[in-house]
Amino acid sequence: MEHSNTQTAVLLGVLALFIVFNVLRARRGKELFIRRIPGVDHIDEAIGRATEMGRPLLFSSGLGGLDIITLQALEIMSHVVRHAARLNTRVLVPVYGGDPPLFPVVEQVYREAYVAEGKPEAFNPDDVRFLSGDQFAYASGVMGLMHREKVAGTFLFGYFAAESLLLAETGQQVGAIQLAGTPQTDQIPFFVAACDYTIIGEEYWATSAYISREPVLLGSLVGQDWSKILIAIIILAGLVLALFYGPNNWFSLLWKI
């Protein structure tokens, strides 16, 4: 769909309204509930384990460029690096080179995490490493890094393709505790099989809200839930009408692109 039609504009407008309304509600002090996300709870456990073992952590933001998937991964990375900096644990961040502007952004986020913890002198630029713009060259670079540095924990958050299992299984081989999260539905099974904790689908977007408990982010989550309820109602309505009036009823045709 290159341009919006009326139905799409109305639906997107309503979804956006739900999200913005709840963000404003949260800003005004409304208490909002978020359920437990088990995978995210273990981030601190993984960092603690690495600290005890005296081995570094590894954070990979996958193959994404400077898009919202990677921005979300960088928010999680910032949290991990800040916590690790507090405990004087190194975090290795190999960067994929498919989108050139990504590398300076990752380096800046990494540096800012150390500054926020009051340890700017502990920032080691060699820990943020550009590897390659080729998918499998990047994967083999990360695998080599895991083996050489004997990482105690790996965080795989972002956009991943076929190399997801390569990275996750290598982490298993070196005995690292592994947390992964991606919105890619086709890579989730690989992460579930090879990682200790996996964050699936929409939980990926909820992670930053869960970690920070920022009212704005929690409000946005509630707005997303309202949006999904609306979509479910539309689907159910379409289903019921299709059962009684056939698949070419006015409601189904309304949503036809």
Partner: protein, 280 residues
């Protein structure tokens, strides 16, 4: 050191032996060249076959070879099976790609088949080569082919190629087949099928196959070739024992091996649990 019981050892087989087993199980059947396993053709493969059959003689079929050497194992046999069908039906096709290596790999396949089926470059097929530019390129190609493609992969101007005389824009395309291991097919759903309703089929790697089912269900895709099995199915429809068919025994035994190993691991786990100890 405590001696491991059989159940503990079965749960923790060293991965070296697993990899060796897999290697043997996959390589051994390749030496046996007979077609000893039946191939059951899926609706999705039939969809592509029928779509090729339905292309009118005055239109061309676009084969988008959007794969590289990494996924060549699955996509190349699919492409070759499709080319064989197209050539045997007397239809004409165009190769293009948004991957740099795709056009060369596809051209090699086409040339080999052309020798066997007595077809000629420039009359029965053309290779437009690697086309960069993504969405703007596709839009330009759809409105006017020559705005995006001046010369073919052999550096020959399009206007000097006999087949290109009647190929001007998207309305001269009767079917668009994409062979890929990435998500690039989504671009064709949006910018080729969406505005122009050109029938679209995808030959994909098995990993991304399930992603395409919603599009098959909605009618946006006419069919799908699902990994190596898709290639074998298409070869079955072509009545030709090709690379896809040759690989099916290896893949079959590999799947069987995975099932056996899972059962073995769980058997060890249950025995150890019953004894009240043992490894995870």
């Amino acid at each position: 050191m405590e001696q491991k019981t059989l159940s503990q050892r079965v749960q923790a087989i060293d991965r070296k032996y697993l990899y060796l087993l897999l290697g043997v199980v996959m390589i051994a059947p390749l030496f046996y060249q007979e077609h000893f396993l039946p191939t059951f053709v899926s609706q999705e493969a039939v969809g592509i076959y029928e779509a090729v059959e339905a292309v009118p003689p005055d239109k061309v079929i676009v084969l988008a070879a959007d794969y590289d050497v990494a996924t060549m194992g699955e996509n190349q046999p699919q492409l070759e099976a499709a080319i064989r069908h197209i050539m045997k039906s007397g239809k004409r096709f165009v190769i293009l790609a948004q991957s740099q290596v795709g056009p060369e790999l596809a051209e090699k396949g086409a040339e080999t088949l052309a020798k066997e089926l007595h077809k000629s470059y420039g009359v029965d097929w053309v290779n437009w080569g690697f086309l960069a530019g993504g969405v703007p390129m596709l839009k330009g190609l759809a409105s006017n082919v020559r705005s995006e493609v001046k010369k073919d992969i052999h550096n020959k101007p399009l206007d000097e190629i006999p087949m290109m005389a009647n190929v001007k824009d998207i309305h001269d395309v009767g079917l668009w087949l994409d062979f890929t291991g990435s998500g690039i097919w989504g671009m064709y759903v949006q910018f080729i099928y969406g505005p122009y309703k050109v029938p679209l089929g995808v030959g994909c790697t098995a990993v991304i196959g399930p992603q395409l089912f919603p599009y098959l269900d909605s009618g946006q895709l006419v069919g799908q070739l699902f990994g190596m099995r898709g290639a074998a199915e298409y070869e079955e429809l072509n009545h030709h024992f090709g690379r896809g068919d040759r690989a099916m025994p290896s893949i079959s035994f590999a799947h069987l091996l995975i099932i056996v190993l899972i059962i073995l691991g769980n058997a060890g786990y249950f025995v150890a649990r019953r004894r009240g100890g043992g490894a995870r």
